[in-house]
């Protein structure tokens, strides 16, 4: 199975990189960009009998290593 994991900074955490990217997009003429949040995207292949089990394991991986829960949120999506 393929797991797709998105890790982003929590809403209440300032994202200076996102702000700089937003400014650059505006300077390119994309005036309708209001906010940019930069994050990480991790794709991993995992052997598992069920989507539920794979998702549970990926959540565990995020809690233990992939995300820093003090500043980051994560979401997991499993594909067959």
């Amino acid at each position: 199975m393929l797991a797709k994991i998105h890790i982003t900074l929590k809403k209440d955490v300032l994202d200076p990189q996102g702000s700089v990217i937003a400014n650059s997009l505006k300077s390119l003429g994309f005036d309708n960009v209001n906010d940019v949040r930069q994050g990480k995207f991790i794709e991993l292949e995992i052997n598992s009998n069920s989507k539920e089990e794979a998702e549970k394991q990926c959540n565990d991986m995020c809690e233990k290593l992939l995300a820093n829960l003090v500043i980051e949120d994560y979401s997991v999506e499993i594909e067959n």
Binding site: V13, L14, P16, V20, L65, N68, V70, I71
Partner: protein, 223 residues
């Protein structure tokens, strides 16, 4: 005094801190490779600065899962003094020994320059000889963050170790190099036997460094 310095692939302040320990504390530290699994009886464990594991994923994240860290955590929980400097601070945070997070500097730049810090609690084994001190920082991710509940807890328990300040000891936005919340440059764990700090006392430890203010942290450990 029996002292240990942990060495990860990518550590680059391990020998600097070993020299400082040798010169100031008078103990020749045992250098412990990250793949080792045990530290028997120690009076001080230092997790040094550098770029452990190339700072992959997040600074300190990979190092915090390396074999030796289990023993560092066990020793810390037994009350052994553990000190993390710069990348070592990031590793101690990632390993859960210290609270909060270290984010990218608000300027988005790597900062390498002298700063001034002031101890917030001088009743600890690391800071009992501390005063307003000048020493260098050299980091890209030193922007300390904790949410408002955690900050309150850290403040209520006197866990703030150092804050960035100006020459007069005033803690203000101007003296904050990296955007750290409340100018925090270093924190303790609850029982104050674990210290993490972004500034480098080992790089300001003898007159040839141009400043030896960093000595007071090592001298504190002697008393």
């Amino acid at each position: 005094m029996k002292t240990h310095v942990i060495v990860f692939p990518g550590s680059n302040c391990d020998r600097d801190v070993a020299v400082a320990i040798q010169n100031i504390i008078g103990s020749s530290p045992e250098m412990v490779w990250h793949k080792d699994t045990t530290i028997n009886q120690s009076d001080l464990i230092v997790v040094p600065g550098g770029f452990s594991y190339g700072d992959y994923l997040r600074c300190g994240a990979m190092a915090s899962t390396s074999p030796i860290m289990k023993s560092v955590i066990e020793n810390a929980n037994k009350g052994v003094p553990v000190m993390g400097i710069c990348n070592g601070f990031q590793i101690l945070i990632e390993s859960g020994l210290l609270q909060g997070a270290l984010m990218r500097n608000s300027s988005l730049s790597f900062i390498c320059r002298d700063i001034i810090i002031k101890p917030a609690n001088t009743k600890t084994i690391f800071t009992n000889k501390s005063t307003i001190s000048k020493m260098p920082i050299a980091h890209n991710e030193g922007n300390y963050f904790a949410n408002s509940n955690q900050i309150k807890e850290i403040e209520d328990n006197d866990q703030i170790a150092f804050q960035y300040c100006d020459e007069n000891g005033d803690i203000n936005a101007y003296s904050n190099p990296n955007g750290s919340i409340n100018n925090i440059a270093g924190v303790f764990n609850k029982s104050k036997n674990v210290l993490g700090m972004m500034p480098h006392p080992e790089r300001a430890a003898e007159s040839i460094h141009g400043c030896d203010d960093g000595r007071n942290i090592f001298e504190s450990l002697l008393s």
